[in-house]
């Protein structure tokens, strides 16, 4: 963990208390966003997303697998993230740490609970064979706000994923790699993350802001305005009012983010 000098902490906080930010943004602005899809030919779906200098490549791959015993009729989505040691001096090689686990579980919940992908259509033979879709988040450059970038990249990758057609001929499963089809997509969801610094909540914290934030709130919302995921982080409490005004802003900002999707 970086220990931020007191003077940096103070100057960032003072700016925000004055409704300003070091990079000139207003409290409720995203940094510049860019999104490309189909960047990895060997993936079935892929996206490269940048929010400011934060950069993530997301790839999807499907394969056949067994359904979970308690959900025999639905396919499986598995989200995995790696905070690569390349992405920041403080990241280490090794098995996923708690930050990486939290990231992949929150992204996973945002996608799963939004019911974005119709998992029932990914079932091949009830109780026996389903499609498993892996979403791999490869974090290349960490400059703050991984949650929103990860969800944006994952959703873009899912929207552009082409999986082989699969048909049943008697008890044989025929995988037709020549004929690809899109995933069965329903409602889309995206995520907005806020940081509490000083007396204010700010949108899309940069790395410097993340390092001094007292609380973090990430809200996943569907295109139709439903809250599908939420996660508070950080060591300071929030009031209900702070939370509800973040929800309100998310309604507005996810609409803006949606425009980047393919």
């Amino acid at each position: 963990m970086n220990i931020v000098p007191e003077i940096t902490r103070k100057s960032i906080t003072d700016l925000i208390n004055n409704q300003e930010r070091a990079d000139g943004r207003s409290l409720n602005d995203y940094r510049e966003i860019s999104l490309e899809t189909d960047v990895i030919s060997k993936a079935e779906g892929s996206a490269r997303v940048k929010i400011g200098n934060t950069q993530i490549v997301v790839g999807t791959k499907s394969q056949l697998g067994d359904p979970f015993p308690d959900t025999p009729k639905v396919g499986v989505i598995i989200t995995n993230s790696e905070l690569l040691p390349m992405a920041a001096p403080e990241f280490e090689s090794g098995p996923p740490d708690e930050h990486s686990v939290e990231l992949s579980r929150v992204v996973d919940r945002c996608i799963r609970e939004s019911r974005m992908v119709d998992l029932e259509k990914l079932c091949i033979i009830e109780g026996k064979k389903v499609r498993m879709v892996f979403i791999d988040l490869h974090i290349l450059d960490y400059d703050g706000n991984l949650f929103d970038a990860a969800v944006l990249g994952a959703v873009a990758a899912l929207l552009t994923t082409k999986i082989p057609k699969i048909t049943l001929e008697g008890s044989e499963i025929v995988i037709d790699a020549e004929n690809k089809e899109s995933l069965p997509i329903r409602d889309k969801a995206l995520m907005c993350t806020f940081a509490k610094i000083g007396d204010n909540m700010i949108l899309d914290p940069s790395i410097d802001e993340e390092e001094i934030l007292s609380a973090r709130l990430s809200i996943g919302m569907t295109e139709s305005g439903k809250i599908c995921a939420m996660q508070k982080g950080g060591a300071t409490p929030l009031t209900k009012e702070e939370i509800m005004s973040a929800v309100k802003l998310t309604e507005e900002k996810t609409k803006v983010l949606m425009e980047y999707l393919p």
Binding site: P69, P96, E98, V101, E102, S104, R105, R109, E113, S114, R115, L217, T222, G225, K226, I227, C228, A229, M230, Q231, K232, G233, G234, A235, T236, P237, L238, T239, K240, I243, M244, V247, K248, E251
Partner: protein, 239 residues
């Protein structure tokens, strides 16, 4: 050992799986000081949940990476016993328990006067002996009592409770069945004096209005549970 049931208002609400009113908690008991070796401990039963928490510290930290010059840090481990769930759970941490350990530490941290113990560590071990929906909240509630039992100075207790949406209705304290078949689950932890929120998750589909209602309901539930925490400490230490 004390047992209380929060009486539900039950004003014509749709009946729930286990017959509770929409704002009714499951039976809850908490006992403080149940272990010999730990510095503090608490045992909680909440519906079918059985949770044991031990606290060690504050004690000197030997792990440089985590040491802080101006305060203690919290090391928290949430763990499920292999026999606590329907299908035997393999021992050892999984992704779910790693995440819950992290957010539990963050939920408790605002209440603890960490600055009193520079370079130290406070260890919190949460063992779920039996799980029936709502174990992360049960763990936080019990941990707070164990911290007090360990004599660790705190600004306030922390108390947690979930609400959610089941059969299109916002209800308090989801059971295992409700959690599985329900439409949303909203775990909340608060510091009861200020009412401020130290843990918040939401999982499922809720309109902003439903979400607000769920948070309000969970906060009410926390306030009820808070009384049981105090009762447990009173039973152990007297008034």
């Amino acid at each position: 050992m004390i047992i209380i049931l929060t009486e539900g208002t039950n004003l014509g609400t749709k009946s729930r799986d286990d017959g509770r009113a929409f704002d009714e908690l499951r039976p809850l008991t908490i006992e403080a000081g149940v272990l010999e070796r730990a510095d503090g401990s608490a045992y909680l039963e909440f519906g079918g949940n059985k949770v044991l928490v031990a606290v060690y510290g504050p004690k000197e930290s030997f792990i440089r990476r985590f040491q802080r010059p101006d305060r203690a840090y919290i090391r928290c481990r949430y763990n499920m016993a292999p026999f606590s769930v329907d299908d035997r759970k393999r021992p050892g941490p999984d992704r779910r328990s790693v995440e819950i350990s992290k957010i539990t530490a963050e939920a408790l941290q605002p209440a603890i006067l960490l600055e009193k113990y520079p370079r130290s560590v406070i260890e919190i071990f949460i063992e779920v002996l039996e799980a029936e929906g709502g174990t992360r909240c049960a763990g936080i509630t019990a941990a707070s009592v164990a911290l007090a039992d360990a004599g660790i100075p705190m600004r306030d207790m922390v108390v947690a409770c979930a609400s959610g949406k089941v059969n299109d209705e916002v209800v308090l304290d989801l059971s295992e069945v409700e959690d599985k078949d329900g439409q949303a689950d909203v775990p909340v932890a608060i510091m009861p004096r200020s009412g401020k929120i130290t843990l918040l998750q939401s999982d499922g589909s809720l309109t902003p209005e439903e979400f607000e209602k769920a948070v309000d309901l969970a906060v009410e539930g926390c306030q009820s549970i808070s009384k049981v925490q105090k009762e447990a400490l009173k039973n152990r230490y007297g008034e």
